[in-house]
Symmetry: D2
Subunit: 380 residues, 4 copies
């Protein structure tokens, strides 16, 4: 039996893997940070003496001190034998340890907090995108580990064109955010899709599929290579601590922003929802009208979206403007939403086999494009 994490976004520390019925593990902290919750490891299984498959019981001993302990309530871990299909496996949380139990059907099995999205797949995504006529691949600069900050510009800039910015995965452990972008890109670059074509007649998209490639590759939950929570860096980012935000923010200031969607996952809530910038100084009735319309159309478009559960609203003027959505909404006086997807399942439409999944995230990304299409004439 062997448990390893030396691969893209791997994250586990093995305490004791000598007994399949009692495997002791810990989640590693993000580098230079106390945040941790993302886990991703591979189990090479033991067989019993007579060659039967054994039940493997894996305890994540330090789960009770993770960043969002409410994330473990009613949570089921995902696993995969072929690295393509991820399914939920029996998982229990006792307030201290998270315990995953599985009798594997094949020799080797991966476990993760959510279906991973590797840096290799990221590079495939952006390089496939650049082959389309409408798409430009731009490198804004480098991260602290020397990875690219890549922006996909889709559509032609021009008089009267609206500028829609999409960013994903500021928090690298929220991999559903990049699956969401993959689905949205698939549709946006489909030459037969009417929504995409109509949108590109009047809109330019600026899409950052991965705001935090270093944290992603390192297997971080929430921070970049030096422990910076990028979604608290938007007020005063620096090239030393948060070049990811610095570079994107500079580009936004250069292009302007008419609409902003920042894609995330939420550890605790088992629904999809959005969070706006109602607490920023510039927020006004026009802002609110845009928000309400967008939520209404998204509710109409897909049962995966809802507006009853979500974050508490900020009081007027009390928003934390270090947060991307708040900073952008305030700076550009534009519709700015954080999109949150669950790590667990969508309780309104539960799927006991896969829960909320990579595929469902991608489909939601497709469907959000319809929402953008509906808004684009009203943005200014």
């Amino acid at each position: 039996m062997q448990i390893t994490d030396n691969f893209d976004s791997g994250n586990i520390r093995v305490i004791d893997a000598s007994d399949a019925s009692n495997i002791q593990l810990e989640i590693k902290k993000d580098n230079q940070s106390d945040f941790y919750q993302w886990f991703h490891f591979k189990l090479q299984t033991d067989l019993s003496a007579n060659g039967d498959r054994l039940e493997h019981v894996m305890h994540l001993n330090n789960a009770g001190k993770a960043a969002y302990v409410e994330g473990w309530e009613d949570y089921q871990a995902v696993a995969s034998y072929d690295r393509e299909h991820w399914f939920r496996v029996p998982t229990q949380y006792d307030g201290e340890k998270l315990t995953i139990t599985l009798t594997p059907e094949y020799d080797s099995v991966y476990f993760a907090y959510f279906a991973p999205y590797s840096y290799e797949r990221h590079q495939d995504l952006i390089h496939n995108a650049q082959m389309h006529l409408d798409c430009q691949l731009q490198v804004l600069g480098q991260t602290l580990d020397g990875r690219d900050m890549t922006l996909l510009k889709i559509g032609e800039e021009g008089e009267g064109k609206r500028k829609v910015w999409i960013t994903a995965r500021q928090h690298p452990g929220e991999t559903m955010a990049e699956w969401f972008v993959e689905g949205m890109l698939d549709r946006l670059l489909d030459e037969d899709d009417g929504v995409a074509r109509a949108l590109l007649n009047k809109t330019v998209f600026y899409i950052v599929p991965n705001m935090n490639p270093d944290g992603s590759a390192r297997g971080h939950l929430r921070t970049n290579a030096v422990g910076a929570n990028l979604n608290r860096e938007w007020l005063e980012p620096t090239m030393e601590r948060s070049p990811e935000v610095f570079l994107v923010r500079e580009k936004m200031l250069a292009t302007g922003v008419d609409m902003f969607l920042d894609v995330h996952g939420d550890e605790a809530l088992p629904v999809n929802f959005v969070a706006g910038c109602e607490g920023v100084v510039a927020y006004d009735a026009r802002h609110k009208a845009l928000e309400d319309k967008f939520k209404e159309i998204m509710i109409a478009i897909t049962p995966e979206f809802q507006d009853e559960r979500g974050y508490d609203k900020d009081e007027p003027g009390k928003a934390n403007t270090t947060v991307g959505t708040n900073w952008v909404g305030n700076q550009f006086k534009c519709l700015a939403y954080t999109i949150e997807m669950p790590f667990k399942d969508n309780d309104l439409l539960p799927d006991y086999i896969v829960g909320w999944s990579d595929e469902r995230s991608s489909i939601l990304g497709r469907d959000f494009l319809t929402g953008v299409y509906h808004m684009v004439d009203d943005l200014r």
Copy 2:
């Protein structure tokens, strides 16, 4: 040089194919009918003496007497070298002849009125569908040529479940209707799609992907094996003349209908639109409210749909109830719409390479599912 039509839905008569620069053709009439407009043939090309590709000029001499001559205005025929990708080719109409001109890039090329949908593909479609847990394949009976009238029932019947009926291709030359159904089925049977899953929690779908398999295989425009226009047979269908309608109507009477979509193509109008049953006796304010809501949501969902251009409205009580949509809307007092897609292009979002296409029809079918989802709670 050779022009042939002995394949699924082939339809041409060769008058003179001796000179590539002046090929004389005629469209055959539907059997036992005067309708004609669907054409589908294959050209085996001639090379010049020195092996160069020649321009081929093909005149459809009897175009001016076809069923819908306004269909030839601004119309471009489709062609394919590989039978998968269909592109528009230069086409002119002089009031009498339709003239198609092409210098083929490969040895053999198919031409058609619209991207064909063969009986083989139809059988693949329904047999792939039956492999899904939620789907039943039912044979309602046989056509006059001995083909199956196949119904796909998707979802479980049950207390309070709404019944949505979809029929396509009563007019067999309107192949876009089956491409539409293929797209809708793809989505409806996708286990990861939230719209599909939410719909199937409260709806049963009864889908007839091809209402006229005999006319389809025979290369008809508008009628079945014995020249019956099925969409004029709904009041008094018979097993002798219109078993296709008879069998479907009997099943509808057995199951009930809460919503009905009958999918068609329109020869003349270069837009997508719907036509309701406003002229039937049972039509009332509730009917109208449902219609308006459905059109509104479809406009919101996709720029491929519009409600400004379409058919003239029937006067109250003056509807032709031999037409499927009218008969169903009246009989079941339900929302009943004919969906019309263009043979030409969608002028609101023109694509000069492919025009309105098989792919766009499929995507529209996907998108109509969102419209159904939005309506299903209001139907009764």
Copy 3:
């Protein structure tokens, strides 16, 4: 319950389909012929009163008078739910009736003598082929039903180039022959395949993927539209009775032939083998040396091939020169082989799930290309 055959290559007559446990069927004869053995039909299943799947017992009553009754010994019919995957089903032959028994897992199921290869797929095959630089699609003329006799010329003619002719499916019910050609074409048109590239440097291929498209579409076993057994027409073919052979023979006389493979299936023998032209007048030691070398290399290349079981050898000068292989071998003094694949299984490497199959036929087609590669320098 319903049993139908009105589709490409369908062939069954229903005597009585009222009782799932005792379904009475007959195989139809080829048109204007007494040959019959190919069957292909679809069963729409009955459920029991409580919705359970029933066992269906289908008797082919006239099996005992079919063309090759030894073909029914140890034979298992094939079935498919999705028209892509064909599996063997329990089948018994009592000397009179062939009885197929299945409790279907889905509503609709196809049965056939072997995995069908439709005219639609044939058209896809040849039109995909023509998209490759090295391939020309030529139409030699028309069959009696008005279908194309299509020749694929692959490679450039030139000084010293060898001419290899491949024909398949003279006997239309031997569908494995076209699956074989599909596999061979896949490889021959693969630009990365060294065998294909080396061959095309010194060889031109003339491939007729389907010698009998009329018989194929009609669901015949052995003859064309007017009952002609094409493989007995090579001495004096006529445009009236056997245009398929007439046209191909004329082309052969125009191009010359250095090697000929005619692909078939054999009803009785459960092995792959070849049959040569040892009984023709022109046969000599050179002929024999070529044959022996080819068999030796094929035995080396694949365990699916063998040379221990096969047809009895013709005595010198006693060959039937109405047979394609004999006529060609004699006329062109070239290596000429009939390739025979089983309808049953390859007993040397049995697969109880699928028996000899479409996929295995395709792989054998790929592997025969290696055999051709090895021979091509020795042919003249």
Copy 4:
């Protein structure tokens, strides 16, 4: 303009990338080693002031001191825009610098010594393999960087079963070796392939698709994480310096070996060839007969293989037994071959677009399986 290498198997040092027409680069040495030759980097292109694509001239300044300078003669680098299709680009060697010139068609382009094979793809490969009934995924232990040494056992061990060992990529920059294994695995795990099925009836395969995962991920040419050339470690491997060899060797000693193929790439020779163990003490006439037969059959099977050019033969008893093939051939008195593929092209069958390529390597892997099939009865 930006040149980066922070991705799987990336390897370049940027000296000066300020001027597209004169970019100065260096290849990094393998860690704790003086070997270098593998390069892999990404160029984010500059446009001219008016938006035109610029020619980019990239000098690898230290090429003249690389491990195999004869490898640069007539060598063309590979590039890719989509990371799937790799094509050759104009490359010159002046005895000192290797200069690559390209006017890219898209914004971002990868360059490499040969088509890369990433650790992500490696993990996909072995985990797809384990889903097959016949395949076991075994982890032999860990590398110095903590990656798995993975063995795929294919087929059931049993009385009289031959044991064929395949290892690849001891030298990590020889990525063609893992493409070769991918092709061989595709065929070996294809349930319809007769060669695979016949082989698995009498053979067990032990396949190590990547002998050097650390060097691969690090972008090394020739050594592991601590600079050990694994193919000089077979006599006395240690867990400290060469656990990769230690673990595989232990397993070989446990299972026995009846045939061994060790897959490599050769920098200089533009052909495929094999190198045996003629210089080992145990080498005898039986050894030679096996070698000759294997070469003969491979020559028959594919024009990509030849035996005229290759390495000089070792004198009797003078072999370097630290080399895998020598150690295994001597230890197990078995057929043991190093397979060498070119980095350049196969001069016998040149392809000016792609040269020797990932696809051709995979096809060669497929074809070698036929060679193994032919040998397996003679091995003992």
